[in-house]
Symmetry: C2
Subunit: 94 residues, 2 copies
Amino acid sequence: MDKDFDKYNEIAEILKVLAHPVRLCIVKGLIENGECNVTHMQSCLDTPQSTTSQHLQKLRAAGIVEGKRNGLEINYRVCNDKVIDIIKTIFKDN
Amino acid sequence: MDKDFDKYNEIAEILKVLAHPVRLCIVKGLIENGECNVTHMQSCLDTPQSTTSQHLQKLRAAGIVEGKRNGLEINYRVCNDKVIDIIKTIFKDN
DNA sequence: CCTTTTTTTTAGAATTAGTTAATATAGCGG
DNA sequence: CCGCTATATTAACTAATTCTAAAAAAAAGG
């Protein structure tokens, strides 16, 4: 029954990354408002810049967001359709 | 923008509990096959009894599953519609 | 090349989560 | 009441996460 063990692991990894209030807020915000740079995110998040950046790194490493540099800024967006689907389900009736 | 801070926390708590391969397997199995007792779960899970029981306790504490005693056994089932919805979305196309 | 701005990386402390063996509890059949 | 089976709880240890401050890197402008 656990030949899907890798599958469970893979999904658990994604969920683990989503399972943090700040990262949830980042991902939900990006889905709803499109691209956003780090400085602007911070103004909504009330965490120090370094903390925000580390959350973004986790999201990047998990293949959930990606950033594109534009001059000094880096604009992030959600690049994972499954995650978009999951987040929409989670926040469906709020 | 973070007057929903409690909401993010609440959802993160649920996701944190789901974000473990063994617990994912338990929840998905319960959703697909209905009720199940602990001994039977273990036979599918390849973890010691105590480990399984502790995962179940986390799921119980989070309001995701509930158990009903039937003689010596305790039969668990998923009692959280939102979680059912999320899990179905996660495993949609597999 | 110096400075400023934006973002990332590193390092360390504090907290939280996961695993396991051992012990406890609950219900049943004699 | 005893022994048996199913499940839960505790205690101890290890591993992983989170947070923050400080330092580094990358791009732009003068």
